[in-house]
């Protein structure tokens, strides 16, 4: 077997001295790994294979994802670009800073390379983010104190909300959003947000390259390889994909090592082929349904939470934040 090529690295937006791997390791799925030992081995194998971008979030599996990633990265912290997210969801900045301390402890590090605001998806989130005492102040404070090198935000819901965040004029270093071959025909981040980020030199972190849960692959509409290759061929810094097992990791590495971008006309052909199924959002339910908004966000915004959902059960068992939605009632 010929040795696989390297995973390409790309500049982190306008901070061109910082480069990260074009494939990013998604932290949510790490918490779905069979056990802690598997998770640790997955992280180590990814680092060896040249993955340097590691994604996580304070609320993923109520800390399990961060704890397992922290253990997997032990001794390799300086070789990677580590990101996690705060889950204030419109609540006060002080809460976000408490979450930061907790994340640092779980990840066994004294600083993050990137700290983002998680799950910006409600129409009034930009307003709540920027308000006095809001999370915007927490991001700046964390950067100033050196606990976070770069700051950004993420959301999977609505390009208009992303644009409203950009219009606040806040100095974001990065923005994360869903980018895949279905997005092009439905409430498209690639059309509405991506060019603006490229123009401003903000690092673009693509996510959901295989539509979050891979339903389109299961339905035989396209292959996982096609899906990932398409997403990685867009003008992004990295493409974050969830990895919960060795078979998924190796499948992703096959695309990323020695990565060859898809030609523009093949990308167009794929968009055209998918359009009939993409046009109503059936494969992008994270843009449509509350189900994919984490319970922490739904709670903070006073939306109903589904007590049968695994994440809600996790949340109710060991909630360790203020638990109070903003504004208080």
């Amino acid at each position: 077997m010929t040795s696989p090529g390297n995973i390409p690295t790309r500049p982190f937006g306008k901070h061109s001295g910082v480069r990260v791997s074009a494939l990013g390791f998604g932290g949510h799925h790490l918490g779905d790994a069979a056990d802690e030992e598997t998770a640790i081995r997955l992280v180590r194998r990814a680092v060896e294979a040249g993955v340097t971008f590691f994604d996580n979030c304070w609320e993923y599996h109520r800390g399990k994802s961060e704890i397992w990633m922290g253990k997997g990265l032990k001794g390799r912290r300086s070789d990677v670009f580590l990101m996690t997210k705060a889950c204030s969801h419109g609540r006060e900045g002080a809460l976000a800073l408490r979450m930061l301390e907790e994340s640092l402890r779980r990840l066994q590090t004294d600083h993050l390379d990137l700290w983002q605001i998680h799950g910006v998806s409600f129409d009034n989130d930009p307003e709540l983010f920027m308000r006095k005492g809001g999370a915007a102040e927490a991001l700046l404070a964390a950067k100033k104190s050196g606990k976070a090198r770069f700051i950004g935000f993420t959301g999977h819901k609505n390009p208009k909300v992303h644009l409203a965040m950009l219009e606040t004029g806040f100095p974001f270093d990065s923005v994360q959003m869903p980018l895949n071959a279905f997005d092009a025909s439905y409430r498209s981040f690639a059309d509405a947000v991506l060019p603006e980020l490229n123009r401003q030199g903000i690092a673009v972190l693509g996510m959901k390259p295989i539509n979050g849960h891979g339903d389109a692959v299961k339905d035989g509409i396209l292959t996982a390889e096609e899906s990932l290759r398409y997403a990685m061929s867009l003008p992004v810094t990295t493409t974050i994909t969830g990895i919960e097992s060795f078979s998924v990791l190796e499948q992703n590495l096959r695309v990323a090592q020695g990565f060859i971008p898809m030609e523009p006309d093949r990308m167009q052909a794929l968009r055209d082929r998918l359009k009939p199924q993409a046009g109503d959002g059936r494969y992008e339910l994270y843009k449509v349904s509350l189900k994919f908004d984490n319970p922490e966000a739904r709670w903070a915004h006073g939306f109903p939470i589904d007590s049968q959902q695994g994440e809600v059960k996790e949340m109710l068992r060991e909630t360790d934040n203020s638990g109070h939605p903003f504004p208080g009632r």
């Binding site: 419109g90 409600f122 129409d123 009034n124 989130d125 307003e127 439905y186 409430r187 199924q277 046009g279 109503d280 959002g281 059936r282 339910l285 449509v288 349904s289 509350l290 189900k291 915004h301 006073g302 939306f303 109903p304 589904d306 504004p327």
Partner: protein, 335 residues
């Protein structure tokens, strides 16, 4: 085209006094106020009876009593849809309106959800049969809520052609569409140059600060001279009242103070109907400053859509439409 439509007058009939009713009734002289229904020459009660909730009434008897009492109080607008309670809403209304068909403005909706003209016309025949009539006053495309719905509706052999054909055949007098999701979708529907007579949309005191139909669609519909039917004045199932944010009276009065033809409200029991009638009997439009202060009061919990779940979640999206669009069912994906 309109000259082939059967000419018919909506004349108020003397209302028979039902003796022995033990629910409190107000004076028989009460009557719900009326407004012109767009440009069509009809006069419509400012409160309309929602058809979905008629199917939720506890039994046929209660449903019949609701319709009789509504007629007696001067409500002449009756809403329905082919898919409500698998036809039961239409059947109940059809039975309850026997002998009174000529006194009312009868509307139902076609539920193709992207399917073709032929399916639409089959649904029309079925609706007419269930409603025990040979024509509708208003026939609307139901639940325009998916981003590609306008494309499907106006595609060759789509439901838009069925609306025209039904109108031409004299089976429907006026045509329109409805949807509870996205003002942009409504605007796309209105920009097709299609001769819609009516349009239905959510209108309430929370809407103004979240994906607003009032700000984005209502002025355009008024400008086009369409008859506007407001709905979801209390959130779809009273969410706004349950949150303690407003009273039912404030919600209904706000919605009825907008430039609409009628406000459709679901009333699944005589109690709810009486409550609404009491509000409507004394109806006085809110002043612009009263409306503004109500909007301002609602804003803190309006801006993220938590009380307008029909816009912000899939909770109110019907199963038939979900199926046509390959979405998970309401069991699999409740909100």
């Amino acid at each position: 085209m309109r000259d082939v439509i059967r000419k018919r007058r909506l004349k108020p009939k003397p209302v028979a006094w039902t003796a022995g009713g033990d629910s409190p009734r107000r004076s028989r002289s009460e009557s719900v106020a009326r407004r012109p229904m767009g440009k069509g020459g009809l006069s419509v009660s400012i409160l309309g009876l929602g058809g979905y909730h008629l199917g939720s009434a506890k039994d046929d008897r209660e449903a019949g009593a609701i319709v009789s009492r509504a007629l007696e109080a001067g409500i002449n607008f009756f809403d329905n849809a082919w898919e409500y309670h698998r036809g039961q809403s239409e059947e109940r209304l059809g039975r309850a309106l026997r002998g009174r068909r000529e006194d009312v403005i009868l509307m139902t909706k076609v539920c193709t959800h992207g399917r073709d003209k032929k399916t639409a016309l089959r649904m029309l025949e079925q609706s007419l049969r269930r409603l025990r009539t040979d024509h509708l006053d208003v026939w609307q495309v139901h639940e325009v809520i998916y981003d590609n719905d306008p494309d499907l509706i106006f595609s060759k052999n789509g439901v838009a052609e069925a609306l025209l054909a039904a109108k031409k055949a004299g089976k429907v007098r006026f045509v329109g569409f409805t949807g509870h999701k996205d003002p942009d979708l409504h605007l796309r529907m209105l920009s097709q140059g299609f001769p819609f007579d009516t349009v239905q949309m959510p209108l309430n005191c929370f809407d103004a600060t979240f994906r607003s139909f009032e700000q984005n669609v209502l002025p355009r519909a008024n400008q086009l001279g369409l008859a506007v039917f407001g709905m979801k004045s209390l959130g779809g199932s009273g969410e706004m009242v349950r949150e303690g944010a407003i009273t039912a009276e404030e919600g209904l009065r706000y919605a009825m103070s907008l430039p609409v033809a009628t406000t459709i409200s679901g009333m699944e029991s005589l109690d709810v109907l009486e409550q609404n009638l009491a509000i409507v009997a004394n109806f006085k439009a809110l002043s612009p400053s009263e409306m503004e202060s109500l909007r301002a009061r609602c804003k803190p919990i309006a801006a993220d859509g938590r009380v307008e779940l029909f816009k912000s979640t899939v909770k109110y999206d019907g199963d038939l439409g979900r199926k046509q669009h390959h979405y998970p069912s309401s069991k699999e994906l409740p909100v």
